[in-house]
């Protein structure tokens, strides 16, 4: 049976269709989840896609974190459900305290969209286990509030525990502390990433196919995971 990966749509989600497409291309079955339903429909993993949930007029992700579906996700994540938050999804995960720290306005104050090289540093997570440690990948980054910040103790802890999943290489697009592009929780099942792997899954529309690794990783993880 193919894995079923849920993709949540909040009001203002934009990359939900792309995340679903990436899941499909990776070989899993995408399941669309609605923010207003406290129901996960038995999915094996969840992607919180990019976008501007609730317009991001308040702190990004601050409202979405209270959506009914999030209660279920927070619970399930505690139980080991693989969750990937991309961009706005990363922001929601931080607001939901599934991940430490916060994403703030890009230091140069502009929205920025570019093709970005990342170095994958943690390959033990549910979403990065098909990469090699230190592998450099090309993934589009596009955000207005992607500057990762946390207090020094938290940053030191993340580094010490090997929870910095990816760092920006060859220029930091938003001023993130310690060039952090992605982090994970202690269990390694919840990953937040600012760049958009779902936009690097087709040669025709993306700068590379490197993003596919995140989605095939979760399949590998699910196969290996005790049912």
């Amino acid at each position: 049976m193919t894995a079923r990966v849920g993709v949540v749509t909040f009001p203002g989600s934009l990359d939900d269709g792309d995340a679903a497409r990436a899941v499909r291309i990776a070989g899993a079955e995408p399941v669309r989840l609605w923010h207003g339903e406290a129901e996960l429909h038995g999915v094996d993993a969840v992607v919180l896609p990019g976008g501007f949930s609730y317009g991001d007029y308040l702190r990004c992700g601050a409202i979405a974190r209270f959506a009914p579906v999030m209660e279920k996700i927070i619970d399930a994540a505690g139980g080991g459900l693989p969750v990937l938050g991309i961009c706005n999804g990363f922001q929601i995960l931080c607001e939901a305290h599934l991940l430490p720290g916060a994403l703030t306005r890009n230091q140069h104050l502009h929205f920025r969209n570019r093709d970005q090289i990342l170095r994958i540093e943690a390959t033990g997570t549910a979403w990065t286990n098909t990469f090699q440690p230190g592998q450099e990948v090309l993934i589009p980054v596009k955000n207005g509030e992607g500057c990762y910040v946390a207090d020094p103790a938290t940053l030191d802890q993340l580094e010490a525990e090997g929870r910095v999943v990816a760092r920006y290489v060859g220029g930091n697009p938003n001023g993130s502390q310690r060039d952090i592009a992605a982090i994970t929780n202690q269990a390694g099942n919840v990953v937040g990433i600012m760049p958009h792997p779902e936009h690097a899954v087709e040669a025709l529309t993306g700068p590379s196919l490197d993003g596919l690794g995140f989605f095939t990783s979760v399949l590998k993880h699910l196969v290996g995971a005790p049912a």
Binding site: P11, F52, Q107, L204
Partner: protein, 1183 residues
């Protein structure tokens, strides 16, 4: 957010018959005796004599009369508001309608078109199941006032147009035009507009796939913010706007209604109320992209569930437009309860609700049984939806129904909806070719000095790619999301954006928008065709087949006959062009009144072309493709290169020149080219293809090289060898050309295919992946790093480096020492020079070692400090031919080779000049004496090449040529007949039959030819006759050349004075007394001359001498003297007896022999007149 629980809707009967007047009205008790503060239909019928502020609302007397005629009474306040906005230029197209018809009349037959002009957007079928809709629209004025929100709501508006057709919006594009890149106001407008376009589009989840960023001083006070949206729909989901089916419910869905964008209507209020008008001041429209995103999703769900009968977006003219258009197109009536409209401000009055342009609203027509489902969908998406009315039946006699609107049980509107939509005024406005056009066209850029040696050519390449219009636009495009929705196959900086429409089959579309205001200024007919050709070609180079056109026609005031002529010509050109290419215009937008004061923008038709790609995997991109090892592609140039430099980017950047005629456009050739490219793409002959346009071949080569860092080696074809011809090869802007790279092994097949399609080709070189440079054999070699540095540095330097870690303490020191030498003339601008030693303001950023790629940004920080001193004339730079004349006074900065930003801001603004290739060498003792009275700015120095001529000064660029003009602070126009004596106002006017008609219109008398004087009409060009004729207050003085020069000179915004031999001394005194003739306020003197019957210039010695006498009278003025001025002065100095010379010259003899000796005698009475005829608003009168 839930569906609006409107108590009124729940229980209409609950409305009190006598609603309590809002408290605000109590504050203004005496100002109105209107019942309940609202002007009702019965009241209007009873008070026919009441004065209404229709002129303030922009309605003409006859338009107002017509409204009264239609209604059979005076309109109510609400009705007046509705008519005034629906009959405005914006909504009614009253000035453009008669011309726009051509798009339909000349349109080629197309079986693809499902909806065309008149709909919200055109819809074209791209397969059996799928259609696309696209349209480009302007939001120019709001974007100047409030750049962010103006641009944002511009995007929002066009997206709703697309949505209203039943389509899902899938991409946006943004053709943007700004004033001079280095103007301080551009630094306000551009970042705001870009952030607004990005902010709205990004938040809406629409990829931005292309557009334009163009800088030209003509847009300084009036930037152009156009936005294009592309949508996709299943063919059977096409929506209509018709409010059919009496009994159907009218639903307003989306944002609440506030007091946005009711500027004109607020006049209505202030005409009634004297106090409290501040609180009614309309706020700037504020976009809410999140609401729009919800609206899109809600609408699409409604379409798919087939819940709506008709739908219309609310944009300009808000509810008024939506209600009347839906009813009028169905021929039905409508009954609307206005108080049900959800309001942001409860105190809003009916006319405000009707006129509000609040964003993010749609009007739906819904069958009653489906209303519940509609409201439920709206609730799901969290948007307001309120039933505000119902469709009513047509009249019993079959005529269309009426629109009845009540507000709290008072009937405030009772109109036939069609009268607002279709019966608006239509004007065939007067048109006239602008007087300066002939002059402008004669001033060809092909005569400008061109680079003639390899070093200069190399330097020109670097300078051009760094110029604002040609440089890298990443600073802008990085702020747009191009990936969202996952179907973007190509986006900027490619020639076209390409979107995959059908994931299954690979079917997709390519889109490009292009325009060139300079070309259209020189020839609006050809300019429009050129814009069309460029957009068509840009689509074709991707391998797509162009199928449809949209346009946004940005022009000045239609009340200016010159602008109207430009508009008519552009429309004719576009319609003819589309007919020739066989693709229809499917819709578009007209934007008039784009001008600052009397100065209109360049006519700027922006053309969008859409093409179809059967499989987007076949698309061809613009960059040279990297190949392993030493393998390379062959480079072919398709099309023909001619010496076509007029209107080019080079002429503008290097010479600040605009003149001549734009490049020839051959649409048949464009069609062949498109056919070839589509075929070649399909069979894989092309590694890359890149359109040639602004900046010519050089620009395309650089862009293709830098795209993937692949160098190239180019050989200049034989016929382009020698002196300046390699330059022509690289920089000519001939149309119909494409640069392609062809993989090894495909050359023969490709060239054979070219032959089949009849497209000329030429092998010009190879790509060179290992060289890391662009090399033009025998000319230059430029490393890709150097190219990239020049190409990418400009916009970050102008608008702020967006690198987060750019400034560190040592970097500031770099800033100072790296300042381009001579970028600021220290002698002339001491405050600026000292300013440059001040460190740039530092940003609070963490200290960090900058990487090498950040370096270019640091080296040229945005030099804000240069603007610390208020500039005296931020706008009003000379335009048109007069721009050419400035060299005489220019202080051109010395340039360092390779430094990308070349013009100092201040100097460029003041004197956009060029250097001259001549030296001052007085030949005769007399001339030398004459010249000695002037300070000599620079010693002649042949070794330095072009000699820069010094500050101040005045003169003509080339004696005897029409391009004469002034570029300084004042222009003296020398003419034998400077008017203005006897208190007369003189209107200069082009020679021709229209003078008499014009005179009648302005209430003046037209002077006729000398020989056409009659007893009834004694006013002629003959000064003698004129002195005997009865004195009139206003005289139209037709002249072949003087009027054109006057018009062109006055367009500069500088004072223009007419002078002749008689008043030269007085003019000199007047100028000196006002401080002209100094470095800061130079003078240009133009000798008018005559025209031969064929229109060419007839220089006249008397005008030369007249010009020289003005110069003579200026002696002692502190400024220097241009070569031209010196030459004219030397000529004057060489003539012992000026009156005798004038009597003896050809034109003098002609006049004397023709019986007008008296005129000659009057002309030679040197220094006898003290009149200073000063040109104000097109009329000469005594200063």
């Amino acid at each position: 957010m839930t569906t609006h629980p409107d108590p009124v809707r729940e229980n209409p009967e609950a409305v009190p018959a006598q609603p309590v007047a809002p408290a605000r009205h109590a504050a203004v008790p005496a100002a109105t005796d209107w019942a309940h503060g609202v002007d009702t239909v019965p009241r209007a019928a009873g008070t026919p004599e009441e004065l209404q502020p229709y002129t303030e609302l922009g309605l003409a007397d006859d338009e107002y009369d017509r409204i009264r005629h239609i209604l059979g009474r005076r309109p109510t306040q609400s009705e007046l508001a509705m008519y005034s906005i629906m009959w405005s230029e914006h909504c009614s197209y009253k000035s453009s309608k008669v011309h726009l018809r051509q798009f339909g009349e000349k349109a080629p037959p197309s079986d693809r078109m499902l909806a065309g002009i008149g709909e919200n957007a055109g819809v074209v079928r791209i397969s059996d199941e799928l259609a696309v809709t696209f349209k480009v629209e302007s939001h120019n004025h709001p974007s100047f006032v409030e750049p962010y929100q103006g641009a944002a709501t511009g995007v929002g508006g066009i997206v709703r147009d697309i949505l209203a057709m039943g389509a899902r919006p899938v991409a946006v594009m943004d053709p943007l035009r700004f004033g001079a890149a280095d103007h301080p106001d551009t630094a306000r407008v551009l970042p705001g507009v870009v952030a607004g376009v990005g902010g709205y589009g990004n938040c809406l989840g629409l990829p931005n796939i292309g557009g334009e960023v163009v800088f030209d001083p003509c847009y300084q006070g009036n930037p152009l913010v156009n936005a294009l949206c592309l949508g996709v729909l299943p063919v059977d989901r096409l929506q209509k706007k018709d409010a059919t089916g009496p009994g159907n419910v009218v639903v307003l869905m989306g944002a609440k209604t506030g007091r946005d964008g009711i500027g004109g209507v607020s006049v209505l209020a202030s005409a009634t109320f004297t106090e409290g008008s501040e609180q009614r001041r309309p706020s700037v429209q504020v976009g809410d992209p999140f609401m729009e995103k919800l609206l899109i999703e809600a609408c699409l769900e409604l379409y798919d569930a087939e819940l709506v009968v008709g739908i219309q977006d609310l944009g300009g003219a808000g509810l008024t437009c939506a209600l009347t258009e839906t009813a009028a197109s169905a021929g039905t009536g409508m009954r609307v309860w206005l108080e049900r409209v959800p309001l942001r401000e409860p105190s809003m009055e009916p006319h405000e609700i009707l006129a509000s342009e609040s964003q993010e609203r749609m009007l739906l027509v819904v069958a009653p049984e489906k209303l519940e489902a509609v409201l439920k969908t709206a609730e799901k998406w969290g948007v307001w939806a309120t039933a505000i009315g119902e469709v009513t039946a047509p009249e019993s006699d079959g005529s269309p129904g009426r629109l009845h609107i009540t507000w709290r049980d008072h009937l405030v509107v009772d109109v036939p909806p069609g009268s607002l939509v279709d019966d608006g005024p239509v004007y065939a406005r007067p048109m006239r070719e602008p007087a300066d056009l002939i002059l402008l066209q004669a001033d060809r850029a092909e005569t400008l000095p061109r680079p003639g040696d390899p070093d200069t050519l190399r330097e020109t390449v670097l300078r051009m790619i760094a110029s604002p219009n040609l440089c890298d636009k990443t600073w802008v495009t990085e702020q747009y999301d191009r990936y969202v929705l996952g179907n973007t196959v190509l986006a900027q900086p490619e020639d076209s954006g390409v979107i995959r429409i059908d994931e299954r089959t690979g079917l997709g579309v390519a889109l490009s928008v292009d325009g060139n205001g300079r070309h259209a200024r020189l020839d609006p007919y050809q300019g429009a065709k050129l814009a069309l050709a460029e957009a068509y070609r840009n689509v074709a180079v991707t391998g797509a087949t162009p199928i449809a056109v949209t346009d946004c026609l940005n022009f000045g005031s239609p009340e200016d006959p010159g602008v109207m002529w430009q508009f008519a010509e552009a429309v004719r050109g576009l319609a003819d062009g589309c007919a020739e290419l066989g693709i229809p215009v499917t819709g578009g937008n007209v934007s008039f009144y784009n001008q600052t004061g009397a100065a209109a923008i360049h006519p700027t038709p922006v053309v969008g072309v859409l093409g179809v790609l059967e499989n987007v995997a076949d698309r061809v991109a613009s960059g040279f493709v990297p190949r392993a090892g030493a393998d390379h592609d062959q480079l072919f140039l398709l099309g023909e290169t001619h010496v076509e430099l007029s209107g080019s980017e080079w002429a503008w950047v290097v010479h600040q020149h605009l003149g001549g005629v734009p490049p020839h456009v051959d649409l048949a050739r464009e069609k062949q080219l498109a056919g070839l490219l589509a075929d070649a793409a399909r069979v894989g002959h092309l590694s890359s293809a890149h359109d040639l346009s602004d900046g010519g071949l050089a620009q395309s080569l650089v862009e293709s090289c830098l795209r993937h860092g692949v160098g190239a080696r180019i050989a200049v074809p034989e016929r382009f060898e020698g002196t300046s011809m390699p330059f022509v090869f690289l920089f000519s802007e001939s149309a119909g050309r494409v640069l392609v790279s062809v993989p090894r092994g495909h050359e023969k097949a490709f060239t054979a295919l070219c032959g089949e399609h009849g497209v000329p080709w030429e092998l010009i070189g190879v790509t060179d992946p290992t060289a890391g440079a662009l090399e033009v054999h025998g000319q230059f070699r430029i490393g890709l790093d150097e190219l990239r540095e020049a190409y990418t540095g400009t916009l970050p330097a102008l608008f702020g480096g967006v690198q987060p870690f750019e400034v560190t303490a040592p970097a500031v020191a770099d800033v100072v020492t790296d300042e381009p030498v001579g970028a600021v003339d220290p002698a002339a601008d001491s405050d600026t020079a000292s300013g440059s030693t001040r460190p740039a303001p530092r940003r609070p950023v963490p200290s960090r070692r900058p990487t090498s790629r950040h370096r270019p940004y640091r080296r040229r920080p945005r030099p804000r400090r240069r603007w610390t001193r208020p500039r005296r004339r931020p706008t009003g730079r000379p335009s048109g031919p007069l721009r050419r004349c400035v060299p005489v006074a220019s202080r051109q900065p010395r340039r360092r080779p390779g430094s990308p930003v070349r013009l100092t801001r201040r100097a460029a603004t003041r004197h956009p000049g060029r250097t001259l290739r001549s030296t001052v060498t007085p030949s005769s003792p007399r001339a030398r004496r004459a010249l000695r009275r002037w300070p000599r700015p620079y010693p002649p120095n042949r070794d330095r090449g072009p000699v820069r001529l010094g500050p101040g000064g005045c003169g003509r660029t080339r004696p005897g040529l029409r391009r004469a003009g002034g570029g300084g602070r004042v222009v003296v126009h020398h003419h034998r007949r400077g008017g203005g004596g006897s208190g007369m106002r003189v209107h200069p006017f082009p020679w021709g039959e229209q003078a008499a008609a014009y005179a009648r219109r302005v209430g003046a008398v037209a002077a006729t030819g000398r020989r056409q004087v009659t007893r009834d009409h004694p006013w002629s060009l003959s000064p003698a006759a004129l002195s005997r004729a009865p004195v009139v207050t206003d005289l139209v003085l037709p002249s072949p050349n003087g009027s054109a020069i006057s018009a062109a000179a006055s367009a500069t915004g500088l004072p223009v004075v007419a002078a002749n031999l008689r008043n030269a001394r007085a003019v000199g005194r007047w100028l000196t007394s006002r401080g002209y003739g100094s470095t800061a306020a130079p003078i240009g003197v133009v000798a008018a001359g005559e025209r031969w019957p064929d229109g060419s210039l007839r220089p006249s010695v008397e005008d030369q001498l007249g010009a020289a006498s003005v110069l003579d009278a200026l002696s002692g003025a502190p400024g220097g003297l241009s070569v031209e001025a010196a030459t004219a002065l030397a000529a004057l100095a060489s003539i012992p007896d000026v009156p005798a010379a004038i009597r003896g010259c050809v034109s003098g003899r002609e006049l004397i022999e023709g019986g007008f000796a008296e005129d000659v005698e009057i002309a030679v009475r040197l220094g006898t007149s003290d009149v200073i005829p000063l040109l104000r608003q097109g009329v000469f009168s005594a200063a």
